[in-house]
Amino acid sequence: MNSAPDIQRSRVAWWSPWPPSYSGIAEYSRMLVAHLRRLAEVRVFVEDALAPRVVEIFPDAPALPASAFQTEHRRSPFDVAVFQLGNQAGHGYMADALFSVPCRRVSVFHDGSLYHLYEGVSHYRLIREIAAEEGWPAAWRAWKRLRQPGSDSYHHPLLRRAAGACDQIIVHSQCLAGRVRAAAPDRPIAVLPFGCETWLDDGGLLRRQARRIIGLPQDALIFGVFGHITAAKRVERVIEAFVQADLPGAWLYVVGEVTALAPPTLRRWATDPALCARHRIRFEARRRPAYLSWIMAMHTVDAGVTLRFPTTGESSAVVSELLGMGKPCIVSDIGALAELPDSCTIKVPVTEEEIAALQDALRRLAAEPDRLADMSRAARAFAQGRAWEVVAQAYLQAMRGH
């Protein structure tokens, strides 16, 4: 293992998806690196195929293809390599470097499974990794399941070898820390806040403009659901609860790409604007909306709803963004979401009572504007401690091994 360097003004190799990659972690890196660059020299390494079309955010230090790492390291050695690990194929290019870069290795686990990361390299690599962690019988069963629909990600977290290769691990929740600790008990783990943009309280000025431009009613109470729509996001349950709650004057605004993993009941809502309109639901199932569209859509709402089951302990970038805008959230009482403070979130259980609890939460927020305002203030206060500059400082400490 490599010893902790003095990171102050030292060289950091930042392995991460990067805009225009359609990835929450790419936007997370964009915001975080902007602040880290004030504290250290950061070079971003992206997938080779992405490098020619990468967005040059910092012209003085353009992002480099991963294959250029060794040359760059020989030219001027890096003190630390930071890997942003997500459970997506777009992170597959880090799979080998994670085990081989000749400097201190710090990995940020955004998910409690790396199944799709290895799958992004090749099926062979995935099966080899499962064999290395769980044995060949498990790998054989996984190989047979590869041909079936759905994801086997929850059955094969594949954390042990990746975590074991790190000098320092960073996670954003105690829940995920527990999972990673179970996989690699001897590795140091730092639990840092997931960063967010802290928006100025403008008294609803931007919200009014966003509603005007997007075409949502100015005087309505609007609940928002954002993000890629998969079965685990349980969006169909949010819709069911909203329809049953029948709140006069309230709207539900759903924005996100409906993926192949979304349940069929949800597709009915996504493809039937007339049905949505009857229930005061606006469903924008747009493919790959620009990041600005996401942000503007989030600004239109009064509160967010983010459910999750099952979970591997991942943090929700959407919830972080919404809290930073002063929008309280209704969240599942599970995993990383359960760790959010009660002052700015309402937790609903992932049980048979889920729909009833959701209805109750929606009704409470609709009936108690003062409570909504209090929660909004609490959300802003919570977000202050998670601002990007705060997270950048915490990263620096973790990279040093403090």
């Binding site: 805009p19 225009p20 936007e27 964009r30 915001m31 690196v33 902007a34 602040h35 020619p52 079309r53 967005v55 955010i57 910092f58 390299v121 090749s122 062979y124 690599r125 943009e197 802290t198 928006w199 100025l200 309280d201 403008d202 008294g203 000025l205 931007l206 403009q209 966003a210 005007r212 431009i213 997007i214 747009r286 790959r288 909306p289 620009a290 990041y291 600005l292 569209s293 942000i295 503007m296 203030r377 802003r380 202050q384 601002a387 990007w388 500059e389």
Partner: protein, 141 residues
């Protein structure tokens, strides 16, 4: 009333959509009359511009480069695949790539044109809205 937190300004934010929005928010707060129109433009065109950029970047097709993740034998397998493809299909693939790339370039051109026309029309609409507002003001007693 808005709360005055000591919060970061647009200058503290990474260049990108969030910084753009922050700047417009600051202008809205300052009462800048043009801020709302600029925000409208930003929102209307962000998706279209992103799509045009994506099409531009992905439009030029390239031949597939064969690879294999098998250890030791990987390079040999990739070379064999490449050789077989070269003998059997490369001439055909190249012809298709050329046709598709030409089509993609034409599509990018059409999208660029549509984007330019949309910008022009939006500017005209804004001028007309301004003129209507002026006329309404003039008609008031």
């Amino acid at each position: 009333m808005p709360e005055n937190h000591s919060q970061p300004t647009a200058d503290d934010t990474a260049p990108g959509p969030v910084a753009d929005l922050r700047q417009i928010q600051a202008r809205l707060l300052a009462g800048d009359a043009g801020a709302a129109q600029d925000l409208e433009r930003l929102v209307y065109f962000s998706n279209l511009e992103a799509s045009v950029r994506e099409v531009q970047q992905l439009g030029a097709l390239r031949e597939h480069r064969f690879a294999s993740a098998w250890p030791a034998l990987g390079r040999l397998i990739a070379a064999l695949r490449s050789a077989v493809a070269s003998l059997a299909a490369r001439w055909l693939v190249r012809a298709v790539i050329e046709q598709q790339t030409a089509f993609n370039r034409a599509t990018v051109g059409a999208l660029d044109e549509a984007l330019a026309i949309n910008r022009h029309l939006l500017a005209r609409i804004e001028q007309l809205e301004q003129r209507v507002a002026e006329l309404q003001r003039e008609q008031r007693p």
